[in-house]
Subunit: 459 residues, 2 copies
Amino acid sequence: MKPSIPRGTRDFGAYDMRKRNYIFSIIRKNFELFGYEPIETPAIENISTLTGKYGEEGDQLIFKILNSRLHENQKKELLTKEFAKTLQTAYNSPELTNKALRYDLTVPFARYVVMHHHQLTFPFKRYQIQPVWRADNPQRGRYREFYQCDADVIGSNSLLNELDLITLIDTCFKELNVPVVLKFNNRKILTALAEMVQHPDKIVDITVAIDKLDKIGKEGVNAELSANGIDETAIAKLEPLLDFKGSNAEKVQILKNVVGTNEIGLKGIEEIEYLLNAATTRLKHLTLELDITLARGLNYYTGTIFECKANAGTFTPSILGGGRYDNLTGVFGLNDMSGVGISFGIDRIFDVMNELDLFPASIQAQSTTQILFINFGQHEATYCLTIIAQLRSEGIACELYPDQKKIPKQFEYADKKKIPLVCSIGSQEMESGVFTVKELQTGLQEKLSLAQLLQKLKR
Amino acid sequence: MKPSIPRGTRDFGAYDMRKRNYIFSIIRKNFELFGYEPIETPAIENISTLTGKYGEEGDQLIFKILNSRLHENQKKELLTKEFAKTLQTAYNSPELTNKALRYDLTVPFARYVVMHHHQLTFPFKRYQIQPVWRADNPQRGRYREFYQCDADVIGSNSLLNELDLITLIDTCFKELNVPVVLKFNNRKILTALAEMVQHPDKIVDITVAIDKLDKIGKEGVNAELSANGIDETAIAKLEPLLDFKGSNAEKVQILKNVVGTNEIGLKGIEEIEYLLNAATTRLKHLTLELDITLARGLNYYTGTIFECKANAGTFTPSILGGGRYDNLTGVFGLNDMSGVGISFGIDRIFDVMNELDLFPASIQAQSTTQILFINFGQHEATYCLTIIAQLRSEGIACELYPDQKKIPKQFEYADKKKIPLVCSIGSQEMESGVFTVKELQTGLQEKLSLAQLLQKLKR
């Protein structure tokens, strides 16, 4: 039987792990420099916690977990009551499944805040780096298991938080050396538009439709809008916004003309202008772009919306998303907890950095092991173990070849693993205490005492 | 609706995260010092990959994932064919579920080795630090989601690998300062015993029964043995082994007498003696104890078996397990790949260290943020942001209080989060460029320039 892994999932070998850990470490370091504290939540959440937060499309993509070990009477119940009905019923039956894999880190975070808010200090700034799962159709940059790196602050509605997050994004991508455009928008504008076209109820339909502009074009968007029962005149009112161009300042001007006196629209414009003015002077790396088509599928955003894309190469999916949510904890019974956060898509950042070859040469090396000790046999091996113990206690990563194989075979092992040095200790070296050390790259061979070897390795 | 999390799962706040990361970092560092390379595998594996590897009891504890989005015709199929039959059938129907959450890291590792063996260099030493899931009944030290930290070497049957792993265990627990007894045994002994009592087929039953000695006592074990069809005389032959005492050397002697000339038994004794002699001189911290009742439920062990328990406090569950498996990759079609590995149960190590209060004082601090800047209003805040950007670029973690709340409220935030310093920059300080900095613990208040502040923070 040939083994395989589920589609949309991946194995990561040592080489990829080093690259990924490089990204993780830079993001984690900056999360902490910016005052965010680490938390972790379970991969498994109650279904009731997750459903209804991501829109209908999202709910479809939640991986549900089969209940383990049912009681006999429950089984009968299910067999008769549930499975007699349609499969759909059985699928949603809590007796069959009441747990699911987390779909993102934001909703579990909101759940966490509600459950622990008595012990937390607000405004609460947390970061969280964990995998999430989505039963999506795998394609380039879209996986069924992928990591999210989230930073959120909850319990404060100050725009200084948005500003701090923009700076955080700027700092991380600058250090990662990834060319990035940060597109942003404000959900209040979209709400205003929905109001203005007399379809306040249809904001989700409208935003989801607008969100697809890049994919399905104007005609597509308009078709979807009218399919959602939005009439010609309303659609006409929206259309000019689908291709407004120019500098951010010019775009704001267009927005002002369209929004007119709509109250929530004006509030949205005010927020946009504040961030544009405050951020522009501080950004060291990012390109900031106001994008009215940016809506993001998620239902819970109420203010600023963020999205980052690589500014070079052929990789188009967004590599970061985020925004302001005024009442995500409300569904769990805790109101007046406005939050804002961002999520780095590190699997996609990994893809971008691979395509653009942005990883430093230092982590191109395959092995952390600095020196391999040749195994000449039981007696010599035992001697080597003592040397190895001393080197490791000095922080030097080293290995003894475990098997008494032919010497060339052992050198080949070091070569393949890109271990830079090989140390040969035979009976002669054991007597003299002077070891033969070979640099594989240069071929240079030296006779070194333990002290000299240690000195060489510490360099 | 009051939110909750599934039983057996946990949330980890910043304080616990710091303690857990302390354990992770020490284990990871030593894994790399010993030449193990990092890999990661998906949380989701095909059911066929997992089932049949952990014994019947284990298979029962595998969390299965409901297939997403079935095609209509599949649904009908299921409705008629499967769900007409018993629920058990439906439960195992691949149309209903073909994926599951990994149960440990060893089987996925074997699967990984088989799928990637053309790119790997053997002997292949890998470490893997990821969560696993088991639908077990939660109790003290037993969770449904927990982390494993595994180090394995595969493609070598040299006992030097066992020796290296014992040294690795010794080094990690010494650095963690956790008092530990390392119990070990050899599966070959158990095989020999099964042969000697004319029940070679019953080795699993026998080992599983013996494994329960601590829990159900001699009578319990004997009852279970005879329940498994092992006759009185056979049980009698085994009994002396259930309470053999003394030093490791004395135990080996008893073993020799019992095993007699049984070939595989003698091989097992040879391996045990080698490890005892080689390890004892090298151990700096561990207590090594030969324990014939140690069998571990897992089917795939064939040689040495490891298990660690805390040597102090009231926490009895094992905190590390491992052993030699001669042909785990065979089930996936790759033979002659003997491997040996260990798995640190960091959630239990965390519990032990909490009970024994073994975490260093340095990580008892709640916050990584070194200094909080008071928010006196838009104008002052904007000024602070520039200072903050400079401090962060120097590697100082700092925050601006995002809201223009009353000053005492802002100091309370720093106090609760255990942020050591608070910096107040009002209009006066902005003019003079000299800031007021207060140490919350001592109450000491200083006037510092940015340069002086930076100096103070770097100390």
